[in-house]
């Protein structure tokens, strides 16, 4: 990783110096040991602030999207970041020629406090970047992951009442801080439904019903576009098992329309954003 960090700094220096990039998005060290934070560097002088180590937990894919100018943006991408970029490209949120992607095959990130590999990385199905302009380091063999849907299967096997109690318990703890939305690479709406006060989709009351409305609607909005990057769960201050909901949608979509991997490329239409004559219509 130290090598990757050196190569990254070297390439960043060259790319910023020769004007290929207006700025580059990566990570820098945080205030505490093992802590990192996303970093945007615009000048060569800042290159040495760039780091790459086993604590670079943040997904970078969403950072370039706010910039609607014509600036050329460098982004360090691992599997999850790269799929997030593809999703943004597919959704028309940025143009590919404005991006320069420095791909890094990822060995998984660790929790700074426990030193253990993060849950989201243990469940990762795409360690190698699926799109990049240059690759720093060698591609990795994708290691087998445990059944991603094991938890979904377990919950599905419960009775309706048990399931309701389970989710009522989960969402009774939600504080609607909306961190999961802010971090989510699928959430690129200009104005989120929860903020459209005039329309009244989301009430302001602190209650289980409003929490559930928020959680369930967000689940459907991310839907099959979920990259399974696990950021929502990582940032949730209440530690809610949000990926269980996302994976339920993914599992259903797989069962109804066949396997679909969000962000694997920037062109494959998702099963829910167009219609086909042989689509399942069991509800009709």
């Amino acid at each position: 990783m130290a090598n990757t960090q050196e190569t990254l700094r070297e390439r960043a220096r060259i790319l910023l110096e020769d004007g290929t990039l207006d700025y580059l998005i990566g990570w820098e060290a945080g205030r505490f040991e093992g802590q990192t934070t996303p970093l945007i560097i615009r000048t060569v002088a800042d290159v040495d602030r760039l780091i790459y180590n086993e604590y670079c937990v943040h997904l970078l894919a969403k950072y370039p999207l706010a910039d609607k100018t014509t600036k050329k943006i460098g982004v360090v991408v691992r599997g999850c970041d790269a799929r997030g970029i593809n999703l943004a490209l597919k959704d028309g949120q940025i143009e590919r020629d404005r991006l320069y992607l420095l791909g890094i095959p990822c060995q998984g990130m660790k929790d700074a406090q426990t030193g253990e590999e993060l849950k989201k990385c243990r469940e990762c199905t795409h360690r190698n970047p699926v799109v990049y302009d240059e690759l720093l380091g060698d591609l990795l063999e994708q290691s087998a992951v445990a059944d991603r849907f094991a938890e979904v299967n377990r919950i599905e096997s419960l009775s309706a009442d048990e399931r309701y109690d389970y989710w009522a318990d989960v969402f009774s703890r939600c504080i609607r801080c909306k961190a999961c939305r802010d971090v989510c690479p699928t959430c690129t709406c200009k104005e989120c439904f929860t903020d459209q006060a005039a329309k009244g989709w989301q009430g302001k009351e602190t209650s289980l019903a409003e929490n559930q409305n928020y959680g369930i609607t967000r689940m459907f909005h991310s839907g099959e576009r979920c990259l399974e990057c696990g950021e929502c769960e990582r940032v949730c201050p209440k530690g809610l098992p949000l990926m269980q909901l996302n994976r339920k949608v993914i599992k259903d979509v797989h069962e109804l329309f066949g396997e679909y991997i969000a962000g694997i490329d920037d062109c494959t239409p998702s099963p829910l954003d167009h219609y086909q004559l042989d689509d399942v219509e069991e509800f009709m």
Partner: protein, 659 residues
């Protein structure tokens, strides 16, 4: 503050018997925004409508709720009524307290509670209605008729005679369809060719009809008044501008193929006209059987053609045309009985034939010049068994429906058989004899007088024995098993939709029933319309029919087209989608889900945070949008909304019910 008037309809006793209308009217007085409530026995009647108009004037109403039947029934009536008043026709909501309430409830208390809820929701919704206005959209006054059987020809002629141009598309080399294959037509026994071919000629020569044979519809875009249709004009390998139809090529062609038109009783050449009276009266080359194409030799037709009309290099052409209306007349096929009825020999017995083959046998212009002979040995049969309902009225093996024309053509065939062959015997196995139609039952009685023996029952088995066939069945009237020896067996098989009907249905968005027949918009009141505006049905594409019914339906479809074309322009539907640009993030998900191709992404320049940026924003084509609302539910940002059914209106309704 809105000034809503609520009008509660009794619909005679339709509503009043199950809903306490007084209670509904009383409750409506307390709905927010409601300033006036009235009841009427029939809101839709002239006095009912007058009462609304009067109330608008006297009480200054600006919104109307009518609690009555389904909006499908009378929403349009009440909108029209409002055009004469100060209230915009779209400031109206219908609470359906009949179909969704009184008709489905028995308990008056429950029915009344529900009616109050429905009326309250309508009042809540109308509170957020905004005036909407229609606009004019242009109309292409050219019709497309798909399928040139008797229904298609009749529809094309009627439209053309009214002065509008028609394109008549037929997949076969000649127009005429099934009717031109037939010998005589029941019940008057006039020769089919004598009444069909003049119509074919008229269609072929009509200045307003453009004939496209060997052609199929490939792609359709657009909407009523403005369809753009791509037609694949398949290669005929013959230049019709040069060809004189002399027929020399046909005589010299060495490749012989089974004739489809003669149902396999004769052979035709690879360059051929399906029958002498074909329209257009010019041949085509069947490339799959022509030696020039299969073996790259021969080409004798090209050498012999005096006008150099043969062009082996010809390619399929794609023609794009604009149409205002479409008549679908794709016709029928016969069920593949061989696969279903192993007990009838499964097609292996040469003298067990279907009724259409019998038509060719008995036809004066057919391969035997009307002499009925056995296909196997050419001998005249002395006895004939006709079996009705083969594949129809047989849900276990074939279709559950009655094929409608068989009882009559079966009687005709029996009559013809007995008339043409002296001393012959004819047995008809039937389930029921159905002869509703002018002169139909008289015809059937005449066949009985001719000496046809009708046996009520199905044939269970046919097997060959000593040069004839033994038909074993039960006579259900006497309860006895009967065995009938026959030289010839004719199966009256079920009509099924043409295979192409599925594709046509898909292209035009016309649904099909479980058997594949194209669905009309309403089985009784809109029998030739479909649920796609501007697309009409004629003939057996919609279901089994005989010739008189097909022709009647074709003329009905034509009158709908003519009625449409008599308008100067079309009125647009104002209840369509619209985009809130501020919220649109330009993801384009709406583009993919729109079934009408009405949404495109457009790049626009905007100032955001004092910076000029280029953004993609959804753009709705108001002519193409049908207001289905698919985009509004696909839009994560709720940047898309539907006029007349805005999110706000619907949430308002939900709140009215739930809070």
């Amino acid at each position: 503050m809105s000034r809503t008037g609520v009008f509660v309809c009794h619909c005679g006793t339709n509503i009043a018997a199950t809903v306490d209308v007084d209670k509904v009217a009383e409750a409506a007085k307390d709905f927010p925004g409601v300033v006036f409530v009235e009841q009427n026995k029939y809101m839709c009647s002239e006095p009912g409508q007058q009462a609304v108009k009067q109330a608008i004037e006297e009480h200054g109403l600006d919104r109307i709720v009518i609690a009555s039947c389904s909006p499908r029934m009378h929403e349009l009536t009440f909108r029209k009524m409002l055009t004469d008043t100060s209230v915009n026709p779209y400031m109206l909501e219908i609470a359906n307290i009949r179909e969704q309430c009184s008709w489905v409830h028995k308990d008056k208390g429950e029915g009344t509670d529900k009616a109050i809820d429905l009326a309250r929701m309508a009042a809540a919704k109308v509170d957020r209605n905004t005036p909407l206005y229609t606009s004019e959209i242009p109309l292409t006054k050219r019709a497309l008729v798909i399928g040139a059987g008797i229904a298609g020809i009749q529809a094309a002629l009627d439209i053309a005679d009214a002065g509008y141009p028609v394109t008549l598309v037929e997949k076969e080399p000649s127009i005429g369809g099934r009717m031109i294959m037939l010998d005589k037509t029941f019940p008057t026994m006039d020769c089919s060719a004598c009444i069909c071919s003049p119509k074919m000629n008229e269609a072929g020569a009509h200045p307003n009809i453009e004939l496209r044979t060997v052609s199929e519809v490939e792609e359709v875009t657009g909407y009523i008044g403005n369809f753009t249709v791509t037609i694949r004009q398949k290669a005929k390998y013959i230049d019709y501008d040069k060809c004189t139809g002399c027929g020399l090529c046909e005589v010299k062609c060495p490749s012989k193929v089974t004739s489809e038109f003669d149902r396999g009783l004769t052979q035709r050449r690879a360059v051929y006209k399906p029958f002498p009276q074909a329209v257009p009266s010019k041949p085509v080359i069947d490339a799959t059987n022509c030696r020039k194409f299969t073996e790259d030799r021969c080409g004798v037709c090209q050498k012999i053609c005096t006008v150099d009309a043969i062009d082996f290099e010809e390619q399929d052409k794609l023609v794009k045309q604009e149409f205002g209306a479409v008549v679908v007349a794709t016709g029928y096929d016969l069920i593949d009985w061989g696969k279903l009825y192993g007990e009838y020999g499964g097609g292996a017995y040469p003298d067990v034939i279907d009724a259409l083959t019998f038509e060719r046998l008995v036809n004066a212009s057919g391969p035997t010049e009307g002499h009925i002979v056995r296909p196997s040995d050419g001998k005249e049969p002395k006895s004939c068994v006709m079996i009705k309902c083969v594949g129809s009225r047989d849900p276990h093996k074939g279709k559950a429906y009655c094929s409608r024309a068989c009882c009559m053509y079966g009687a005709k065939h029996a009559h013809q058989f007995l008339e043409k062959i002296e001393g012959s015997e004819c047995y008809v196995f039937y389930m029921d004899v159905r002869t509703p139609g002018k002169g139909y039952d008289e015809f059937y009685m005449k066949t009985l007088e001719d000496g046809a023996t009708y046996i009520r029952g199905r044939v269970a088995k046919i097997y060959p024995e000593n040069g004839h066939y033994v038909c074993v069945g039960e006579d259900t009237l006497s309860g006895k098993i009967v065995k009938v020896n026959a030289d010839l067996v004719v199966l009256d098989t079920a009509m099924v939709p043409q295979e192409s009907a599925g594709e046509i249905g898909r292209l035009f968005g016309v649904s099909r029933d479980q058997d594949g027949w194209l669905n009309e918009a309403h089985p009784k009141l809109r029998p030739v319309e479909t649920n796609t505006a501007g697309v009409y049905l004629a003939g057996t594409a919609q279901g089994p029919k005989d010739i008189p019914d097909s022709v009647a339906q074709a003329s009905a479809a034509a009158s709908k087209v003519i009625g449409l074309f008599n308008h100067k322009a079309l009125e647009s539907n104002p209840m369509i989608s619209f985009v809130n640009e501020v919220n649109c993030r330009g993801c384009g998900d709406c583009v993919g889900v729109c079934p009408y191709g009405a949404i495109t992404l457009e790049t626009v320049e905007r100032r955001e945070n004092s910076v000029k940026v280029m953004r993609d924003i959804a753009n709705i084509n108001s002519g193409l949008c049908q207001g289905c609302g698919a985009c509004t539910s696909a839009c994560y940002s709720s940047a898309l909304d539907l006029k007349g059914f805005t999110n706000e209106q619907i949430l308002q309704e939900v709140d009215a019910l739930c809070l």
